[in-house]
């Protein structure tokens, strides 16, 4: 009946993570097909401006950097909520990943030996850049780091890396099917066999059957009302995994707010602005961050800066405007040259979208939803819990090197490192599997989707009186208002109740348009229930986590609680249920025991258990949660793996 | 290209087998020829203008020069060369002209649309952002094609006339006086002025746009050392404007003199007695 496409590896998502994973899988000798909602180069990875972290230590302020320091900053940044082993795989592989991208064409801004002027903590300083490193990759400063380690290409890092990556994909001849949306996974309760896919050109459904299926669909920021994310970041990848009822999503309540989204359009201006010396000012044009964070000032981690900004606005120091209160970002002192070269995108964004000239004027900013630490829970190989053959990498995954807060520049680096590392593990795994094409199973999955869509088309489902846009907006507002930067028990409870109601109503959708081909209203209707489910996972996870850690900040539980909450939240959605089932697992083996971050200034409740006792239970708890044993044990072999993970053409 | 593509044999539209490198070379040559001949003709027209405008100093001046040219065998080879180049340029340049009317219309419409699209911008905004840059080059190209067509028709007639003149003198046919002011003025006053007025305008516009385009296409300014920098597009545009008006004005005054509407304004330049010959 319907068209069926078979391949060894199906990658859903053509952002950096998906493409890098596809390259690794192809290098292992697999046939690979990539699906994407949009042409690959339009994926949201292209919008990342600032840069990606890797401990190369090439510049003056990066001297003495090491993978060890990068790892420690990452663990601290996560507020000890991450899997420290994964953070180590990451930190150790990142330098290789940057160099590999340099080899494949990323121009990277380079070290220019000799004296250079910078703005550091509000002051102009001249530093001597090491001449012996002339021409190596340059770094800029970012929040929450002990050394300058962010590799960048002016402020088009994501763009240049994605273009180089897509060039590799084209060179290898990997096919990308764009304007194709995965709307359900094909699985038999044990193993994932591919996905049911809807063509956004024609509206047709197709089955893609594969030995390994990789979800690399990016973040789900669009469940919030104000988000810096692209409008396609609607979390469909996470929701089709959730729909299986088997695969849990990890730490969904860990949502990052970026300090500098512009007002009103919520477009991001990069952390590089502050990294390069930009300052935050209040209504009196007073620089307030040093009062809160004397050491890191504007460059504390994002969760901290966003909270401080919100606090300051709540003190009545915000700048009133028709679009709500905001603060100022001051870039004027960086000078025209710098703004028009190294921060050119920022300049353009201010000029085009705000009509503000950052060379002469202040830029209105406020904290805005930016990144989802949470996602499809996977093991260290990127293999999803609960369903064999399903993998996930990039922002859609909870590989968990970010814990409850990610550091700026770490996620772009994660996409490439995870794509490289997990992609290889996945490729090897797929290679060892035999192809079993169970056509009946695939057809069944497709028919179920077909029915869902036909009932939407033929006058809607249920009582059929609900409007897609209205429901989505209502849910976005609830998350924005009640599951925002500061969270409170009662509000979270209300949010859960209200979202549950909206989710129920989404069963009664009524379409307003006629049905031809790739109708956009229909596409939105297909996505809506999934998005509402994600919203509920966020709200419920936040309600139950009665502590403040990283990006999750409870006014009623202001302290970080290592005694009770050194845990990762897992949300599963049993078939037919109207809210997620929440359970927990330990965060992972503790190498660095929870301590002080040195910024943010919250109280901690110390662990009672010893680190050894904690570590002893880790693995057994994981297995209980549906974890697939990793292909090779980790730990001592890390260094070795880093080397082999970096092979592209084998 | 690279390894696989190198020396690949492909069938040329005309049917012979050529390698892609040969084909590329051929296409490079054709383009170079059309540009080269265009530039040559444009430079020739400037020289031609100074020659013809000798009429501004009166008939004697004009005759003196034409006599000189023909006597020393300068005019004859020039005529042959220019005529050949004229047609070579026509053949190579018109390769680029879309064959179908619909295509030419499409070019025109697109150019007009981009040029004419309405936006409300303050001058300052425009300067800061270069957001909506005015665009007229596409429409100008259409004018280049149109003026080219006019030149082809009228220029051929003109060339025929002058060739006839020069040939008469060279081979002593008929009166055999060659190019001379009296005949020229008779011709012009006898109605040829219309042809010349149109041709003059067409040539100057065509050469002006053409040279501007060549400057931009080849980025000539990049290497000009005296300027210290290169000629930017807007500089090239300004220069084109100045040169265009300069030659148009001289050309039309010349035409007015030839048509007998005004007296030669520069007659005082020549010593009076030399006319006594």
């Amino acid at each position: 009946m319907s068209e069926l496409i078979t391949t060894d590896v199906l990658v859903i998502g053509a952002g950096l993570a998906g493409e890098r994973a596809a390259i690794s899988a192809a290098a292992e000798g697999n046939d690979v097909v990539i699906l994407s909602l949009v042409p690959p180069r339009r994926s949201h990875s292209c919008a990342a401006q600032g840069g990606m972290q890797a401990a190369l230590g090439n510049c003056n302020k990066g001297a003495g950097d090491s993978e060890e320091l990068h790892w420690l900053d990452t663990v601290k940044g996560s507020d000890w909520g991450c899997d420290q082993e994964v953070a180590r795989i990451f930190a150790d592989t990142a330098p290789v990943a940057m160099r590999e991208m340099a080899h494949h064409g990323v121009p990277w801004t380079r070290v220019k030996g000799g004296p250079a002027d910078y703005f550091i903590k509000g002051k102009k300083v001249t530093l001597e850049e090491p001449r012996e490193n002339e021409g190596l990759i340059m770094h800029r400063d970012f929040g929450g780091v002990s050394r300058w380690r962010t590799c960048y290409t002016a402020d088009g890092t994501g763009h240049t890396v994605l273009y180089a990556m897509d060039n590799m994909v084209i060179e290898l001849g990997i096919s990308v099917h764009d304007r194709m949306e995965a709307i359900a996974l094909i699985h038999d309760g044990e193993k994932c066999h591919g996905a049911v896919v809807r063509c956004l050109r024609t509206g047709e459904l197709k089955n893609y059957v594969a030995k390994a299926t990789v979800i690399a669909t990016g973040g789900f920021g669009r469940v919030y009302k104000y988000s810096t994310n692209a409008i396609i970041n609607q979390g469909t990848g996470q929701s089709i995994a959730l729909d299986t009822g088997l695969v849990p999503l990890g730490n969904m309540e860990a949502v990052q707010f970026h300090p500098t989204g512009i007002v009103p359009t919520d477009i991001l201006v990069t952390e590089g602005c502050r990294g390069d010396g930009g300052l935050l000012l209040d209504v009196d044009e007073y620089r307030f961050m040093p009062d809160y964070e004397p050491d890191k000032q504007e460059l504390a981690s994002r969760d901290v800066v966003s909270r401080r900004m919100t606090e300051h606005i709540q003190k009545g120091k915000g700048v009133p405007s028709p679009d709500g209160e905001h603060l100022w970002l001051d870039l004027r002192h960086l000078g025209e040259d710098h703004l028009r070269t190294k921060l050119r995108e920022v300049y353009d964004i201010c000029m085009y979208f705000l009509g503000v000239n950052p060379i002469k004027e202040l830029v209105p900013v406020r904290p805005t939803q930016h990144y989802s630490m949470g996602g499809i829970r996977v093991n260290k190989d990127g293999h999803a819990y609960g369903l064999k053959g399903l993998w996930s990498v990039g922002e859609s995954a909870c590989w968990d090197m970010h814990g409850m807060n990610r550091l700026g520049g770490n996620s772009l680096a994660e996409t490439v490192v995870a794509g490289m590392f997990c992609g290889q593990r996945m490729g090897q795994w797929a290679k060892a599997q035999t192809h079993e094409v169970d056509k009946a199973l695939a057809d069944k999955a497709l028919n179920a989707q077909h029915e869902r869509i036909s009932s939407l088309i033929s006058g809607g489902i249920g009582e059929a009186n609900e409007n897609v846009d209205e429901l989505l907006i209502a849910a976005q507002e609830i998350l924005q208002d009640k599951v925002g930067i500061f969270r409170k028990g009662e509000e979270l409870e209300q949010a859960v109740v209200e979202l549950r109601e909206i989710y129920r109503r989404s069963g009664n959708l009524k379409m307003r348009s006629a049905f031809k081909g790739a109708n956009p209203e229909l596409a939105a209707a297909i996505r809506l229930p999934g998005m509402l489910k994600l919203a509920l996972c966020v709200a419920k996870g936040a309600l139950l986590r009665t502590e403040s850690r990283g990006g999750h900040s409870r006014e009623d539980y202001p302290e970080r609680n290592d005694r009770d909450w050194l845990k990762r939240t897992l949300a599963r959605w049993p078939i037919g249920a109207d809210e997620p089932d929440i359970s927990y697992e330990p965060v992972g083996l503790l190498e660095s025991p929870p301590g002080q971050r040195g910024y943010g200034g919250a109280e901690n409740i110390a662990m009672e258990q010893s680190v050894e006792d904690y570590n002893a239970t880790v693995e057994s708890e994981w297995i209980k949660q549906g974890w697939h044993p990793t292909a090779t044990p980790l730990g001592t072999e890390l260094k070795e793996m880093v080397e082999y993970a970096s092979t592209k053409k084998s | 290209m690279s390894k696989a593509g190198k020396g690949k044999e492909i069938t040329h539209p005309e049917g012979e087998l050529v390698t892609s490198a040969e084909r590329a070379k051929r296409q490079w040559k054709l383009d170079a020829i059309s540009t080269g001949t265009g530039v040559f003709l444009a430079l020739f027209m400037w020289g031609h203008m100074f020659f013809v405008s000798s009429i501004l100093t009166g008939e004697r001046g004009f005759n003196w020069i034409s006599d000189l040219f023909e006597h020393y065998w300068l005019a004859q080879p020039t005529l042959v060369i220019v005529t050949i180049v004229f047609f070579v340029h026509f053949v190579t340049a018109s390769r680029k002209i879309p064959a179908k009317l619909a295509e030419r219309k499409r070019v025109k419409k697109l150019g007009d649309d981009i040029a004419g699209s309405e936006w409300n911008f303050s001058k300052e905004d425009r300067k800061e952002l270069e957001k909506v840059r005015p665009h007229k080059e596409t429409s100008l190209w259409i004018w280049q094609v149109r003026s080219g067509m006019i030149i082809l028709a009228l220029g051929s007639v003109h060339l025929f006339v002058v060739i006839a003149d020069v040939a008469q003198r060279t081979f002593n046919i008929g009166e055999g006086v060659g190019i001379n002011a009296t005949e020229t003025m008779e011709r012009v006053q006898g109605g040829m002025w219309i042809l010349y007025a149109i041709l003059l305008y067409a040539v100057e516009v065509h050469a002006g746009i053409g040279l501007y385009r060549v400057t931009v296409k080849w980025g000539l300014g990049a290497k000009i050392p005296i300027l210290g920098s290169r000629i930017t597009r807007s500089m090239a545009q300004k220069m084109e404007r100045i040169v265009l008006w300069f030659f148009l004005i001289i050309g039309f005054i010349t035409l007015l003199v030839m048509a007998g509407v005004i007296d030669p304004p520069l007659e005082f330049l020549l010593p009076a007695e030399s006319g006594a010959k």
Binding site: H44, W108, L136, L268, G517, E521 | K6, V132
Partner: protein
């Protein structure tokens, strides 16, 4: 008083045999700082739920939203209605395959383009994960980045009359892409390698210097400078005088 805007939008669904290409007017009141991204979504929410158009980043960086706005190809997401008269005409970009209404298939076109120009670093060197990265001076890196900034929006193709009437013409973005690799010292393709692809009527010698590309490119890429550089370099090859290290001698980039 807020202006009353009329958006005159091209509507056509090529998959629907009953659909005929036409323009449909949608009225709306202008609000402060309204841009076409918001305006089109409002129309979709309130008047035409089936209206097709493409936005992704809505921040002017992904290149999805190129369309003909009052006859000029540009990015819709960063176009404020205040810059336009009350009647705003929106049409899909020509030269690309129409998907429906304002949406065109740039993805397939650009993939084809990348394949045609072999848009990747050609090198014999294997990547060595243990070695430090190959050095490059910052100026060269900046120049490469300058050309790498193309967002594949397609405006330059839509705004080029040559590309509009000649399907085989590479188009400004492809020529720019070639220029990007030509000046990249990591790419080992020689001038002669490039010659076959670039020095043709499909390549830079097919470009008639119409300059529409340069005028409409929303990223203000120095397209004309790149073409001039390529013309000169290719002529050196034709004259048999190609310098082997012509690598980064791209002249001034404004």
């Amino acid at each position: 008083m807020a202006r009353q805007l009329t958006l005159r939008i091209f509507r056509y669904d090529p998959l629907d045999p009953e659909s005929k290409p036409c323009f449909v007017d949608y009225e709306m009141e202008e609000t402060p700082r309204l841009n076409l991204f918001v305006a089109l979504h409002r129309i979709r929410e309130n008047q035409a739920p089936d209206l097709q158009f493409d936005f992704v980043c809505r921040a002017g960086v992904c290149g999805s939203c190129g369309m003909m706005i009052n006859g000029r190809p540009t990015l819709a997401c960063r176009t404020l209605t205040a810059e336009l008269p009350e009647l705003i005409t929106l049409a899909p970009m020509p030269a690309f395959k129409l998907i429906g209404d304002l949406s065109v298939d740039t993805g397939t076109w650009f993939r084809g383009m990348s394949e045609r120009v072999e848009s990747w670093i050609h090198t014999q060197k294997e990547f060595d994960p243990t070695a430090e990265e190959e050095r490059m001076d910052d100026e060269t890196a900046e120049k490469i980045y300058e050309l790498d900034r193309c967002i594949e929006c397609g405006c330059c193709v839509a705004g080029c009359a040559t590309a509009n009437i000649r399907e085989d013409f590479l188009g400004a973005t492809a020529l720019n892409r070639i220029g990007r690799f030509m000046i990249d010292p990591r790419d080992e393709r020689s001038s002669e390698d490039w010659f076959e692809l670039v020095s043709t009527d499909e390549g830079v010698f097919g470009c008639m210097g119409l300059m529409g590309c340069d005028d409409v490119c929303p990223k203000e890429l120095p397209l004309l400078d790149v073409f001039a550089y390529m013309r000169r370099r290719m002529s050196q090859v034709a004259a048999g005088k190609a310098k082997p290290d012509a690598g980064t001698s791209l002249p001034v980039i404004s």
